[in-house]
């Protein structure tokens, strides 16, 4: 029994079948990678977890609650956080404020009109935010405007924002894309240490196989909207179906280059 159970999820965009009978079982405390060629439907699948999209059919259960038919903020309140493929941050605010906001957000989403205290007077929030920024190595950029950062930095900021919420399940959509090699390494280390320390369950979409194999305890391969293989990393490496899925793409890419 996993913490996130996905059964028979289907999603079409007009005539395009983006997800076809997807089943997925993510175990508590594990890092689960979802890989697959471009356009396989990976992001679409995550969108169905956070309320950005509603599947046409199927069920998505998290920790005993259905994630379908409830609002994105309710899903987050259940303990699901997500890092997006294109960073969703508060681009007109400073890095510091970006990190503070999830710290101020109440876990149960309750609203208090906190209009008279000063942001800077909330010492415990500041401590928490500072720790997060140190963790993702952005502390010396804390006064920068979020929109003026590099893509890799934006993604790490987003990661910090999600982690400061202490989620039960962290969804990461290509967290290392656009990062320099060194940053990728440190991100891997960060994720590993968090996983060890806090036992946060993670679902991670990734193209960099180095990252996938050094992190994941389980891997699902998605191709053309279906999970073709689900197994531990060792068994995925030489799997013929996986090769086929990726080779197919390589050929397409090759053709495109010829044009």
């Amino acid at each position: 029994m996993g913490i996130l159970e996905v059964q028979n999820v289907n999603k079409s965009f007009g005539g395009l079948k983006a997800l076809h009978n997807v089943n997925l079982d993510i175990e508590e405390g594990k890092i689960h990678a979802i890989i697959g060629p471009n356009g396989a439907g990976k992001s679409t699948l995550l969108n169905c977890f956070v309320g950005k999209l509603t599947p046409d059919t199927g069920t998505v259960m998290f920790d005993g609650h259905s994630l379908l038919g409830i609002k994105p903020y309710e899903i987050n309140q259940l303990g699901v956080s997500r890092v997006f493929q294109t960073p969703e941050i508060f681009s007109e605010l400073s890095v510091w404020e970006n990190t503070l906001i999830p710290c101020f957000a109440k876990r149960d989403g309750s609203f208090t009109l906190n209009a008279l205290s000063r942001v800077s007077d909330n010492k415990d929030m500041a401590e928490k935010a500072e720790k997060m920024l140190v963790d993702v190595d952005l502390i010396n950029k804390k006064d920068m405007l979020a929109s003026s950062m590099s893509r890799g930095d934006k993604r790490r900021l987003e990661m910090a924002m999600c982690l400061s919420q202490n989620p039960k399940l962290l969804l990461l959509d290509e967290p290392t894309a656009g990062m320099a090699r060194a940053d990728t390494e440190s991100t891997i280390e960060l994720l590993k240490s968090i996983q060890k320390k806090l036992k946060i369950t993670m679902a991670i979409i990734e193209h960099d196989m180095g990252v996938v194999f050094s992190l994941a305890q389980k891997i699902s391969v998605l191709a053309q909207g279906t999970v073709i293989v689900e197994d531990i990393p060792e068994n995925i490496k030489g799997h013929p179906k996986v090769k086929e899925a990726y080779l197919g793409e390589a050929q397409v890419e090759g053709n495109m280059r010829d044009d």
């Binding site: 969703e88 989403g109 609203f111 209009a115």
Partner: protein, 400 residues
């Protein structure tokens, strides 16, 4: 007080000094000089500066922080005025109960309108608030005539009950007071050729302006204010952070509605009447313009914008054809007539045209308003000075 930071304290202090000395600052020209028409130091206009300042500060809490562009704020202004006048009619001429009722009624009214309009965002929201404002106008103008006295507007009369007031024996209409202090009381000070006027009503308005400004600083610097700015830049991220943005935007809407109610109440306190035209879309547009002209989302901008517009409204409206002819009489007749004809479009009754053009120019060229303009000039100045320094340095090194 360490509720606000040093820098904010300075800004507040600056506004306070300006407000205190306004009767001097706004009256730079001797009374008899030809330039006296550019003076703005008389009670009526100074009151308007302060009142519209409050209105714009409140509007900025909504639009500047959350980015929700309301075209209906004049409705709250109007509701505030009507409430105040009713207090003057029923209770007493003291402005305190009137202002309290104005703020409460405007708050409730904005809660209702906000609850519905905030179901949508973006353009939809703007359209809805505009529609509600027009509906309120129609309500005030005709539908609810018993409450608003329709076209004529609501006024105090001698026969009003005023249950808390002493019997009126004078036979004159009573005047608004603050525990006996009459709003219209003005103390004139003659210094040489200058004539400075200190009006009770203005100073009351100024005190409220300072309070409103102080509160807006607190809100800007608070976690609530930060959340509102987050709403403006990315609502999705807030949702994925577990935050339902509706209560935040609704709170901002109601707060800014209450500011507008206070402004409306003060307006009626200075001159106890209320009319439907105060609620028209043009009035809402003017509030928007004040805010963007000064600088949306800045603390000081809206106050500046309000002052700027009210000042030029006053000046421009006074410039009629006779004045224009007076100015350009030194020109050959033909040229004079042409110039007067062109300027005539923009002055006097043409003030609204100037307003519309200003509106467009600001949005097109200076979306950050006067505040951005000033910082641009400041930067340019610094850079020029920097260049000069660099140049002089290079020349000195060359000389060595």
């Amino acid at each position: 007080m360490n509720t606000i930071s040093k820098a904010d304290m300075k800004t507040l202090f600056f506004v306070a000094i300006i407000a205190l000395l306004a009767p001097f600052i706004l009256n730079p020209f001797p009374t008899d000089s030809g330039l006296a028409q550019f003076n703005a130091g008389y009670p009526d206009l100074m009151q308007r500066f302060a009142i519209y300042g409050i209105l714009a500060i409140g509007f900025n809490i909504l639009f500047g922080l959350t980015g929700y562009l309301s075209f209906g704020h004049a409705a709250f202004l109007g509701v505030g005025s009507y409430s105040a006048v009713w207090m003057f009619k029923l209770l007493s001429m003291n402005i305190i109960p009137a202002l309290i009722l104005s703020v409460i009624v405007a708050g409730l009214f904005s809660l209702l309108i906000g609850f519905i309009s905030l179901r949508r965002s973006g353009i939809y929201f703007s359209i809805l608030t505009l529609a509600f404002a027009q509906m309120s106008f129609a309500l005030a103008y005709s539908v609810l005539t018993p409450l608003t006295n329709g076209e004529t507007g609501l006024q105090i009369t001698l026969n009003d009950p005023r249950i808390l007031a002493a019997e009126n024996v004078s036979g004159n209409l009573p005047v608004t007071t603050l525990f006996g202090l009459e709003m219209r009381d003005t103390w004139a000070m003659q210094v040489g050729a200058w004539d400075f006027q200190f009006n009770i009503g203005y100073y009351i308005c100024a005190i409220f302006l300072l309070l409103a400004f102080y509160l807006s600083i607190r809100i800007f610097r608070s976690p609530f204010g930060m959340m509102l700015r987050a709403v403006k830049t990315n609502q999705n991220r807030l949702n994925y952070t577990g935050i339902n943005t509706r209560p935040y935007t609704l709170a901002a809407f109601v707060i800014s509605g209450m500011y507008a109610g206070l402004a409306g109440g003060l307006m009626a306190s200075m001159d106890p009447l209320a009319g439907a035209e105060r609620m028209q879309w043009t009035a809402s547009g003017e509030i928007v313009l004040m805010t963007i002209l000064g600088g949306t989302g800045t603390l000081l901008g809206p106050v500046m914008g309000a002052g700027f517009i009210k000042y030029f409204e006053n000046i421009f409206s006074k410039i009629n054809d006779t004045v224009l002819h007076g100015w350009f009489s030194w020109m050959p007749d033909g040229l004079e007539n042409i110039i007067v004809w062109v300027l005539h479009l923009f002055t006097g009754k043409g003030w609204h045209l100037t307003l519309g053009i200003m509106f467009m120019l600001i949005v097109i060229f200076l979306p950050g308003g006067l505040m951005e303009g000033m910082s641009r000039i400041g930067n340019w100045w610094k850079r020029r000075k920097g260049d000069d320094d660099a140049e002089s340095k290079s020349t000195t090194t060359a000389a060595e």
